[in-house]
Amino acid sequence: MNEIHCRINGTDYTFSFPGERRLLDVLREDLQLTAAKEGCGEGECGACSVLKDRRVVNSCMIPVAAVEGCEIMTLEGFRQTPEGRCIVEAFSDSGAVQCGFCTPGMVMAAASLLFENPDPSEVQIRTALSGNLCRCTGYDMIVQGVRLAAERGRGLW
C-alpha cells in the first residue's frame, strides 16, 4: 500500500488505500467535494474536470497514484479565488448555465485556458472547451461567458 501525497484546494493530504481508485471518487466520496460530476466515467464528457497543476484534466480518468506531488484544484477551491469568482460571475451573467451539470467542468476548462492564454479568440475558446460536452446551451453563451471573464479579468490571469 503506497502513500500518495498531494495538495487539494490548498490543503495537504496523504492517501493510502489498497488497489486503484479514481481521483474523482476520492474527491466526491472521501472529501465530499461534489462540484466535479460524473457524466460518463470514460473521459468523454468533461463533467469531472478539475485542475491538476493549473491544467484541466478529467478526474474520472486519473488514478490517485498519478497525482503524487501534484496540486489539485476543484471548483470548491477555485471559487474562493479572484479568478474563480470572475469566471463564476461571468458565466452567470452570460446565460452560460442551464441545467448546470456540465458547468463546474466548463468553469475549470475555462480557467485552464485563461491561465495559459488570457485573451483567447473565439476559436481558441471553442477548442479549449471541446472536451467538455453540454447538451443544453448549444455552447454560444458559454463561449461568451469565457470572453466576458477574459475581459473583466484583465490583469488577473
Binding site: Q32, T34, A35, K37, E42, S92, C99, G100, F101
Partner: protein
C-alpha cells in the same frame, strides 16, 4: 418607464450552479445509504427459463417479483399498464428489468451483477418498423403489432387524386436519438413510518407517485416525491424515472433503508428510451400547373416493446405531417408499431420533429421535381390566420411567417447564396419552416390534467410559488418568478420557488409539451393578479387557482377533429453548408433562425433555448446515430454516440418576433420544443442543395452522402 418583462435578468439558479453549490441526486448524502443495480434481460425476445444468483454476502439482496408486497401488482401505472416492474417470463426487449441488486458497496455490487446468470428460450424479434409491421417472430401486441392507428382526412383527397396530373411518391426516414441529458438517470428512495419518499432527477413528480403506487399497494398520500436539481431531461426524465422508481419502491419496502440508483452512462445509453424512429410515406397529387391538390401521408413510428406514451407521440407526428402548409385535400394514416427494442418515449418535440422533417423534405423534393425554387414553392402554401389544419381546426392567431421570411432571408443572404452556389456545387443553403402547438393535445389540459397552482403571500412581504412543473435547465425557476413578480409589481427577489415535492405543492401537471409557460405560467399570472387584490404584504394569504380552457378551442378526442392546440409558435431556420468533395464531411458555415413565441418572458433564456435546441437538432441531423444489432444498440458510449461539441457548429443567429397570445402569460406561447423542430430539415436541405441529390433521411452522415453520390 416600466421594465419590459422580456428584458433579461440573471438566472436565479446560475450562481449556485456555476459555483458548484447546486446538489444533484448523486451529490446528496443519506445515512446508511445502499446502492441498487438493475439486473436486466440480455436478449431481444424470448422467455426467461432460469435465474442463477451468486452467493450474496451479508447485507446484499436481490429484489424481484416475489418481493412485491401483498396487494401489490407487477405493473407500472403509466398511460397504460403494459410495462411490468420485474420481468418474469416474457422478454420483449434487451434491457428490461428482471430484478434489483441492492447492497452497501458499489464495487461488490458490480461483481455480483456480473455473476448473475440468466437463461432464456430465445425467440426471433423485430427491430425495425418494417420488421414490426411484418410481425417478425410473430406479433406480440394484438395480431398486427400495432399499438394504435389513427386516420385523418381533410377535404376530399380521393376525388383530388383522381384528377391529378402527376403523382409524386416519397419516403422519408429518421433514426433513433438519445437524449444525453448530461446527468444520467438517478433516484434515491427512503422508507419510514409507512411512507415512501423519493428524491428524483425528474420532470414529473406526480407521475412517479402515480406510477409506483399499485406495485406497493400504497395510498398516493403515503408516497412523496421530491424533485431535486435535475441535470437536463429533454423528455428522457418524463416517464423513465417511473421505471426505476417502481423497482426501488418494492426494494425500499422490503429492505427499509435508503437506496440509490444512479445510472452509468453506458447503461443510460443502452437501456433508456429514445426518440421514435419514423418512416413517413408521401403520395402527392399535382395539377397541371404544378400546384399541390392533394397529399396522402402514411406515418409509422417505431414505438418499441411497451407502449408508454407512443399513442400521443403518434398524434403529434400526424398533426405535424403538413408542417406549416395549408393543403386542400389531405389524408393521413398513422401507426405506432411494436418492435423488440427499448420502448421509444418522449423527447423534445414529441413526434413533431419527425413529422416536420418529413413534410419539409418532401415539399423540397416536390419543388425540385417541378423545377421551382424551394422557398417560393413552400411559401405559396403557408397556413394563414383562419386557415385549416389537418385536424380541420382553425389557425386563430395572426401568422407572421411571411414577414419572418423577409427578415431572415435577408439576414442569411439566402437568395444570393442560392445564386452563387448552384445545386451540386458542394456548397448549399437550405431552409425549413415549422410550427409547434403549445400544451396538451385538444382539451387534454382540461380533461386529463386540470392543473392548479398556489401562491402563498407571507408576512414578510415575500411570495412563495407552489406548483409541480420543474426547473430542469430550461429556466423555469427564473421565468416563473419573473411572471409572478411582474404581475404583483414586486421585485423578483421577493419571490420564492423551491424544487417541488408532491406533499407541498398542488398538481400543476407534468413538465412537458411546451406547456410550462404558456399554460402553467398563465395560471401563475392569474393567481398573482388575484393575490394582488387581497394581500398587502404584511400577513399571510394563499390563493389557489385552476385551469380555464380558452373558450374558442373545440376538440373531439374520439375523432381527433378540431383545434389540436389552442395556439402555435412558429419558426424558420436557414442553414448553410459546405460538403467536402473527397471525404463528404459536411461543414456547417452558418445557421440563422427566427422564432415567434408570442412574447419572450426572458430574452436571454429564450435565446439560450434556441441555441440549445438548434444544436441538439443539428446533432440529430448529422452526427447522432444508433444502430441495432439483435436488439442491442451498437453505440453505447459517448465516444461512439457523438453529440455536438463546441467545435462542430458555428454560432447560431437568433432573432425573435413578437405576437402576444391572449391566453399566455404576458402573451407568451410555447418555446422549448419549437426550437428543436426545424433545424434538421434545414441542414438536410442545405446538404441536398450542395450535392444536387435528394436527401431522404437523417442522420446525414458522410457514408450516407457517399451512398447518394454513387447512385446515378
Amino acid at each position: 418607464m416600466k421594465e419590459r418583462i422580456s428584458s433579461p435578468v440573471r438566472r436565479v439558479d446560475a450562481y449556485e450552479k456555476a459555483g458548484g453549490y447546486a446538489r444533484y441526486i448523486a451529490d446528496i448524502p443519506f445515512d446508511h445509504l445502499l446502492y441498487g443495480k438493475l439486473v436486466r434481460t440480455s436478449i431481444q425476445r424470448g422467455r426467461i427459463t432460469g435465474i442463477a444468483l451468486p452467493d450474496l454476502p451479508e447485507g446484499y439482496r436481490f429484489i424481484s417479483e416475489g418481493d412485491i408486497p401483498p396487494g401489490g401488482v407487477n405493473q407500472i401505472n403509466m398511460i397504460t399498464s403494459d410495462w411490468p416492474v420485474f420481468t418474469t417470463g416474457e422478454v420483449r426487449f434487451c434491457g428490461q428489468t428482471i430484478g434489483l441488486l441492492v447492497g452497501p458497496d458499489r464495487q461488490v455490487l458490480h461483481e455480483l451483477h456480473k455473476a448473475v446468470a440468466v437463461t432464456y428460450d430465445i425467440e426471433e424479434g423485430s427491430s425495425t418498423i418494417e420488421e414490426g409491421l411484418a410481425c417478425r417472430g410473430g406479433a406480440f401486441v394484438g395480431e398486427d403489432n400495432i399499438y394504435v392507428e389513427h386516420r385523418l382526412k381533410k377535404g376530399d383527397p380521393d376525388a383530388a387524386f383522381s384528377q391529378a396530373d402527376r403523382i409524386i411518391e416519397d419516403v422519408i426516414e429518421t433514426g433513433f436519438q438519445e437524449h444525453v441529458y448530461m446527468e444520467p438517470q438517478g433516484i434515491t428512495v427512503e422508507y419510514s413510518n409507512g411512507q415512501l419518499v423519493f428524491h428524483a432527477s425528474c420532470q414529473c413528480p406526480f407521475y412517479i407517485r402515480k406510477a409506483v403506487a399499485p406495485s406497493v399497494a400504497m395510498n398516493l398520500e403515503d408516497i412523496i416525491v421530491h424533485q431535486v436539481t435535475t441535470g437536463g431531461a429533454f423528455g428522457g426524465k418524463e416517464h423513465f424515472p417511473d421505471i426505476i422508481a417502481s423497482a426501488l419502491a418494492v426494494a425500499a419496502v422490503a429492505i427499509q433503508q435508503p437506496i440509490q440508483v444512479v445510472f452509468e452512462r453506458r447503461e443510460d445509453i443502452s437501456y433508456t428510451p429514445k426518440r421514435h424512429p419514423s418512416q413517413i410515406i408521401f403520395r402527392t397529387a399535382l395539377d397541371r400547373n404544378n400546384r399541390i391538390i392533394a397529399m396522402d401521408v402514411d406515418a409509422r413510428i417505431n414505438a418499441g416493446a411497451y407502449q408508454s406514451c407512443s399513442a400521443v407521440v403518434l398524434q403529434r407526428t400526424m398533426f405535424s405531417a403538413n408542417s406549416v402548409y395549408d393543403l386542400p385535400n389531405v389524408s393521413i394514416r398513422g401507426r405506432a408499431v411494436a418492435t423488440n427494442t427499448v420502448p421509444s418515449d418522449a423527447f423534445r418535440g414529441f413526434g413533431a420533429p419527425q413529422g416536420i422533417f418529413a413534410a419539409e423534405m418532401h415539399m423540397s423534393h416536390v419543388a425540385r421535381l417541378v423545377g421551382e425554387e424551394e422557398s417560393e414553392f413552400k411559401r405559396r402554401c403557408f397556413l394563414k390566420q383562419g386557415g385549416r389544419t389537418v385536424t380541420n381546426g382553425t389557425i386563430h392567431e395572426q401568422v407572421l411567417l411571411e414577414q419572418m421570411w423577409q427578415d431572415i432571408s435577408l439576414e442569411s443572404g439566402y437568395y444570393e447564396k442560392l445564386k452563387s452556389n448552384p445545386s451540386g456545387s458542394f456548397r448549399g443553403i437550405g431552409v425549413s419552416y415549422y410550427l409547434h402547438g403549445g400544451g396538451f393535445t385538444g382539451n387534454g389540459e382540461q380533461a386529463l390534467i386540470d392543473s392548479h397552482v398556489r401562491l402563498k403571500g407571507m408576512k414578510d412581504g415575500r411570495v412563495e410559488l407552489l406548483l409541480s412543473t420543474v426547473e430542469m435547465g430550461q429556466g423555469l425557476a427564473t421565468t416563473y418568478r419573473k411572471i409572478v413578480a411582474s404581475a404583483l409589481g414586486i421585485d423578483i427577489s421577493r419571490t420564492i420557488f423551491l424544487d417541488p415535492s408532491t406533499n407541498r405543492v398542488p398538481d400543476s401537471g407534468p413538465t412537458v409539451a411546451s406547456r410550462s409557460i404558456m399554460v402553467v405560467g398563465r395560471l401563475l399570472q392569474r393567481a398573482a393578479l388575484q393575490l394582488k387584490t387581497c394581500w398587502d404584504g404584511t400577513r399571510e394569504e394563499t390563493v389557489e387557482i385552476g385551469y380555464e380552457h380558452p373558450p374558442w378551442v373545440e376538440w373531439n378526442q374520439e375523432t381527433l377533429q378540431g383545434d389540436a392546440y389552442p395556439a402555435y409558435s412558429w419558426g424558420i431556420c436557414v442553414t448553410e453548408v459546405e460538403v467536402d468533395r473527397a471525404s463528404f464531411e459536411v461543414e456547417t458555415k452558418g445557421v440563422w433562425t427566427i422564432h415567434e413565441v408570442g412574447r419572450a418572458i426572458d430574452e436571454q433564456i429564450v435565446h439560450g433555448q434556441v441555441n440549445g435546441g438548434v444544436i441538439q437538432a443539428l446533432g440529430y441531423a448529422s452526427l447522432e446515430k444508433l444502430e441495432l444489432k439483435e436488439g442491442r444498440f451498437y453505440q453505447n458510449t459517448l465516444a461512439d454516440y457523438m453529440i455536438p461539441t463546441s467545435l462542430d457548429f458555428p454560432p447560431v443567429y437568433s432573432k425573435l418576433v413578437e405576437n402576444p397570445y391572449e391566453y399566455g402569460p404576458f402573451g407568451a406561447k410555447g418555446l422549448g420544443e419549437l426550437v428543436f423542430d426545424g433545424a434538421a430539415a434545414s441542414f438536410a436541405a442545405a446538404v441536398q442543395h450542395a450535392i444536387g441529390r435528394p436527401v431522404g433521411r437523417i442522420p446525414v452522415t458522410p457514408e450516407y452522402i457517399m451512398e447518394l453520390m454513387s447512385d446515378e
